[in-house]
């Protein structure tokens, strides 16, 4: 029996936040994760080791990110002892030349158009010790708004060395019934034909100790709902969020999901600590998980959720 292929390692995930120092303090204080500082060009970038990888916290003005970065998940950096030859081996076009990145490590960017809109870099390893806290075990997955999961599999498995984990379809079906109850005439009850109001194909590809979660909207014939963060989320809302994101920005990195041992406790603690929550208790998510979103406004402008699940 062939040994299972090991997925390429994730050196770090770059987040663009309102205030990197403030976000780093929150990760230390409220999430119990360690913190490092790495030089990057002229600035000092806080780094939060998490699982076998790290979150790198950048300011929106950091020239390292390229032109006009938006708040949220900016890029992911794959480990390569020789970034330039790794890019060549992948057979994907690069954007720019080899340069110095975090901790003066050599790094190179791939052209996002060739990687399904996901900004990918190769970098020399950062050499961080693994980290976890009572609240956060590791990154569970990195959400990607996808325009086509088939293409994503070809690029990220065949060229970049990710490993297929699983694929699923999440759907929300609405059934409307009418009840006409008279005190003199017959009781009328009927159900209109059920309608698919939101459907998402979700493909998980392993990178390092977490997965890329490619979310593809399948209900292109149903117009997306407007954003609302005043009620618990659902598949219809998630699907609309992906559709809006792809329409506004194109496909690309979308959100961050952190694995926690007990979602209800975690959400409760964060709620008490003053974080604005979209979900107050865990709700069903992909991979038999229970998930809960934190509002980006209280999380440095990054869309993130927590995940509690058993690993198979």
């Amino acid at each position: 029996m062939p040994t299972p292929r090991k997925a390429v390692d994730l050196a770090y995930l770059a987040l663009v936040v309102d205030d990197p120092q403030a976000s780093a303090e929150r990760f230390e204080k409220d999430f119990g994760l360690p913190r490092r500082e790495f030089k990057c060009g002229g600035s000092s970038v806080p780094l939060i080791p998490i699982g076998a990888t790290a979150l790198a916290l950048f300011a929106q003005t950091d020239p390292f990110l390229g032109p006009q970065p938006k708040k949220g998940v900016h890029h992911l950096a794959l480990c390569a002892t020789d970034p330039e030859s790794a890019a060549r081996a992948a057979g994907l076009p690069t954007a720019g030349n080899l340069s110095k990145g975090l901790g003066a490590r050599a790094q190179i960017s791939l052209a996002p158009a060739a990687t399904c809109g996901v900004r990918v870099r190769f970098t020399e390893p950062l050499g961080l010790a693994p980290a976890r806290s009572a609240l956060i075990e590791r990154i569970d997955h990195i959400g990607v708004a996808s325009a086509g999961n088939k293409d994503a599999r070809e690029v990220f498995i065949d060229r970049l060395g990710c490993v297929y984990e699983s694929q699923q379809t999440d759907s929300e079906v609405e059934t409307i019934s009418e009840n006409l109850t008279s005190d003199a005439h017959r009781y009328i009850f009927y159900t209109r034909p059920s309608r698919l109001v939101g459907s998402v194909r979700v493909t998980f590809l392993t990178v390092g100790d977490c997965e890329l979660e490619f979310l593809q909207d399948l209900t292109t014939d149903v117009s997306a709902d407007a954003a609302r963060h005043d009620a618990a989320g659902n598949t219809r809302g998630d699907r609309s969020a992906i559709a809006r994101f792809v329409a506004a920005r194109g496909a690309g990195l979308h959100h961050l999901a952190l694995k926690t041992p007990d979602i209800d406790t975690t959400l409760g603690r964060l709620g008490k600590a003053g974080y604005r929550l979209i979900d107050r208790v865990g709700r069903p998510g992909s991979r038999r998980a229970r998930i809960g979103f934190i509002h980006p406004a209280g999380f440095g402008g990054v869309l993130a959720h927590f995940v509690e699940r058993e690993e198979l």
Binding site: E165, S166, Q167, Q168, T169, D170, S171, E172, V173, E174, T175, I176, S177, E178, N179, L180, T181, S182, D183, A184, H185, R186, I188, Y190, R192, V197, N234, T235, R236, P284, G285, S286, R287, R288, L312
Partner: protein, 321 residues
């Protein structure tokens, strides 16, 4: 007989000609041009009553005048004495169709339902595709107050009461090639509804329609899809918000709604429903789009429940398909 007979129902249209074509040519109702204050107005006899169509600026009608159902006239040998007997304040009086004397009741005393008493009229009715007025739809925000006036004071009997609700159920499924299938049903949610009271007046009913829950937001767009309870609730809520409570639509009884609706559509009338859908009192109903008449005037058809027949006919159709 308790209560009063419906003498006529006054409709107002931006375009009177298509309404007359619809009632006369398409439905085959008998038209009589009746003298009124020196001119002639088109009456269409139907059942034991009649509908009459007015221009928006007709001086016979008191303000405010807008396309729709303006007033109903109840037959009374002595209109003024009848109003006095019921202690109903009169806001106008004069000579109406065929020189009959009438009094108009102050709408504030009839929960916005504009009502007149008029000396009996004799409008001929033939055999059309609609055989009577089934009901007059009333946008209501206080069914109890209307019942006090029309049943308590005027003696018109309550035919039935009804509560309609539209409920949404949602099922989410998560079906993975590794983690198996997870199904999750959310708690059902009431989208909208109506509380309805039917009061008999002559050979038809007043249908008082009150929003089930005024905190439910009405739908923004109406009339572009087949009708449903949420849409009906929204129409009532919007009517009450804009005009206050009052007469909102007329429903004609027909014997075969599933034949009539496509027939009218084929004749070029824009229909909201092309097949009967479940309506009040075990009936099947189907709406005509107000745009046919320049907007505002809302008509629908009703195939009343007869011998409990219609559920059987729906299920037999489903078996065929």
């Amino acid at each position: 007989m308790a209560g009063y007979a419906m003498s006529y129902v006054a409709l107002v249209a931006r375009n009177v000609a298509p309404v007359c074509r619809f009632l006369g040519d398409s439905l085959g109702l008998q038209r009589t041009d009746v003298p009124l204050q020196g001119r002639a107005v088109p009456f269409f006899g139907i059942g034991k009553s009649a509908v009459v169509v007015f221009e928006v600026d007709d001086p016979y009608l008191d303000e405010p005048r807008f396309p729709g159902v303006h007033h109903m006239a109840l037959a009374a040998a002595d209109p003024a004495a009848t109003a006095a007997r019921h202690a109903l304040p009169v806001s106008g009086s004069g000579t109406g169709p065929e020189g009959r004397r009438f009094v108009a009741i102050d709408p504030a005393a009839t929960v916005g339902i504009r009502t007149r008493f008029i000396e009996p009229l004799a409008i001929a009715a033939g055999n059309g595709l609609a055989y009577k007025i089934d009901h007059l739809g009333i946008a209501s925000n206080d069914n109890e107050a209307s019942v006090r006036v029309f049943t308590g004071n005027l003696g018109c009997p309550i035919e039935s009461t009804q509560t309609d609700v539209e409920i949404r159920g949602v099922t989410e499924s998560f079906i993975s090639d590794k983690y198996g299938a997870v199904y999750h049903a959310r708690a059902p949610q009431i989208l909208g509804g109506l509380r309805t009271v039917f009061i008999t007046v002559g050979d038809c009913e007043l249908e008082l329609l009150m929003d089930y829950d005024p905190s439910m937001k009405p739908k923004a767009q109406l009339g572009n899809e087949q009708g449903n309870t949420k849409g009906d609730q929204s129409a009532i809520a919007k009517f009450v918000a804009r005009r206050g409570p009052g007469l909102a639509h007329v429903a004609f009884a027909t014997r075969d709604i599933d034949a009539l609706l496509p027939r009218l559509s084929a004749e070029g009338w824009r229909m909201i429903d092309l097949a009967g859908r479940p309506g009040g009192r075990g009936s099947k109903i189907g709406f005509v789009h107000p745009s046919n008449f320049g907007g505002g005037l809302l008509l629908h058809f009703v195939e009343p429940e007869l011998d409990g027949g219609y559920i059987a006919s729906i299920s037999s159709k489903e078996e065929q398909t």
